[in-house]
Symmetry: C2
DNA sequence: CCCGTCTCCAACCGGACCGTTGGAAACGGG
DNA sequence: CCCGTTTCCAACGGTCCGGTTGGAGACGGG
C-alpha cells in the first residue's frame, strides 16, 4: 500500500465522477464511491466534505478539463463546422461530462462555479460577434443564440440517447455511426453560421 | 368529499407529474406526491402500483398529450421553421415534459412505451424523407438526422436552462425573451432544412 | 336500510443511506 | 526507535423512504 495521499484523492475523485455521472447526485451513495475506489468511506468525508461538496468539486474539475481541452485546439473561427465537430468529439470521448451537466441542470440547485463559467461563455459570444462583424460568419442570428445552438447540435446526441436510438436505430458506439453523426453536425453547423 | 374515483386518479397523476419533473424518480417520494394531491398515500399504491410503474404511467401519459397536441397543427411540412417553432411553443407551455424525458434518459433504464414512440418518430422521418424527395425540403442532411436536430433546436433551451441563462443573461419567462428565442429557433430550422 | 366500494388515518417493517466515531494497524520523518 | 499522519475496519445513531396493513368511517346502488 503506497503512501500517497494525492493518489488516494485522485482515485476517490475518479470513482465519484463515474458514480455521479451514472446515477446522479440523488442516486449515488458515498459508500459505493468509496467501494468503487477501493478506499474506505471515511477518507471520502475527510477529504471532500459532504456529498454536495463532493459533487461540486467533481463538476468544476471536469469543466476545467473541458476548458483546457478545447482551448488547445481553438485557432480562431475559420471553420465553424469544425468547431462544432470538435465539441461533438469532446463529448463523445468524455460522455460523463454531458451527464454531469444534465444532472446539475435538473437538480435545479445553484450553478457550481457560475462566475467563471459565465465569463468563459461570454468570451465565446464576443468572439462569434467579432467574426460576424468581419463577415467570417453570417450575422443572421444573434451571437449568443448562435453559440447556444451550435452547442445544442453537438451535445444533443449525448443528451437524449434514447431519442437518438429511436430515430436512427443504430448503435451509437459503432465507429461508422459516430462518424455519420459527426458529419451531420458539421454540416448543420455550417448551414447555421457559414456566410452565404 | 366527492365520490369520484377518476378525479382522485387525476389529482394523483397531476401531483406525480409535478414532483417527478421537479425532483426526478430518485428524488421523489411517494409520500410527497400523496401529500401534494391531498390524498392518502395508500391510494397511490392502490391505483398505480410501485414508484417505477407510476413514473412510466406519468411519462407515457404526457407523451400522448404531446402527440395529440402536435398532430393537430401538422398540415404537412410546408414551413419547416414553423414546425420547429410549434415544438418550441409546446415545450415552453409544458416545461415538465422535457424534464421528464431527461430524467428518463439519465436514469438509463428501459425506455417506457418504446414501441409506440419509435413508430411515431419513424413516421416523422418518413414524412421528412418524402418532403426531401419532392424538393419541399433540402436533402443535404439525412432525414433522421434532420428530425433529430430540429428537435434539438427547439428543446435545447429547456434542456439546459443554466447554460441559456449564462449565455443570454435574460429571464426566460419574459415574453420578449421567449419571442426572441422562438424567432431564433425558427430561423435556424429554416437554415437547416429550407431548399436553397 | 344494507352491503360493497372508496377513502382516510395511523402505524408499522425492513432496508438504505448519511455522516460520525473509536480504535487499531501501517507508514515515514526525525 | 518514536511520534504524528494516513489509512483501514466496524459499527452506530438518526433519518428517511418504499410499501403494507388493519381498522374505521363515508358514500351510493339496490
Amino acid at each position: 500500500m503506497a503512501w500517497d495521499t494525492q493518489e488516494t484523492r485522485r482515485r476517490l475523485k475518479e470513482a465519484a465522477v463515474a458514480e455521479f455521472a451514472e446515477r446522479g447526485p440523488a442516486g449515488t451513495t458515498m459508500a459505493r464511491i468509496a467501494e468503487r475506489a477501493g478506499i474506505n468511506k471515511e477518507r471520502l468525508y475527510n477529504y471532500f466534505g459532504d456529498k454536495q461538496s463532493l459533487f461540486e468539486t467533481v463538476l468544476t474539475d471536469e469543466l476545467d478539463k473541458l476548458a483546457a481541452g478545447v482551448a488547445l485546439g481553438n485557432p480562431g473561427y475559420q471553420d465553424i463546422g469544425e468547431f462544432a465537430g470538435r465539441t461533438f468529439d469532446y463529448h463523445a470521448d468524455h460522455p460523463e461530462l454531458a451527464r454531469l451537466l444534465q444532472w446539475e441542470g435538473l437538480s435545479g440547485g445553484p450553478v457550481a462555479d457560475e462566475v467563471n463559467r459565465t465569463v468563459h461563455y461570454q468570451d465565446k459570444v464576443r468572439a462569434v460577434a467579432a467574426a460576424q462583424r468581419e463577415g467570417v460568419l453570417d450575422d443572421g442570428l444573434d451571437p449568443a443564440h448562435l453559440v447556444f445552438l451550435l452547442i445544442a447540435l453537438a451535445a444533443w446526441w449525448f443528451s437524449v440517447p434514447q431519442l437518438a436510438a429511436m430515430l436512427t436505430g443504430a448503435d451509437p458506439d459503432a465507429p461508422e455511426e459516430r462518424a455519420r453523426r459527426r458529419a451531420g453536425v458539421v454540416e448543420a453547423a455550417r448551414r447555421l453560421a457559414a456566410p452565404r
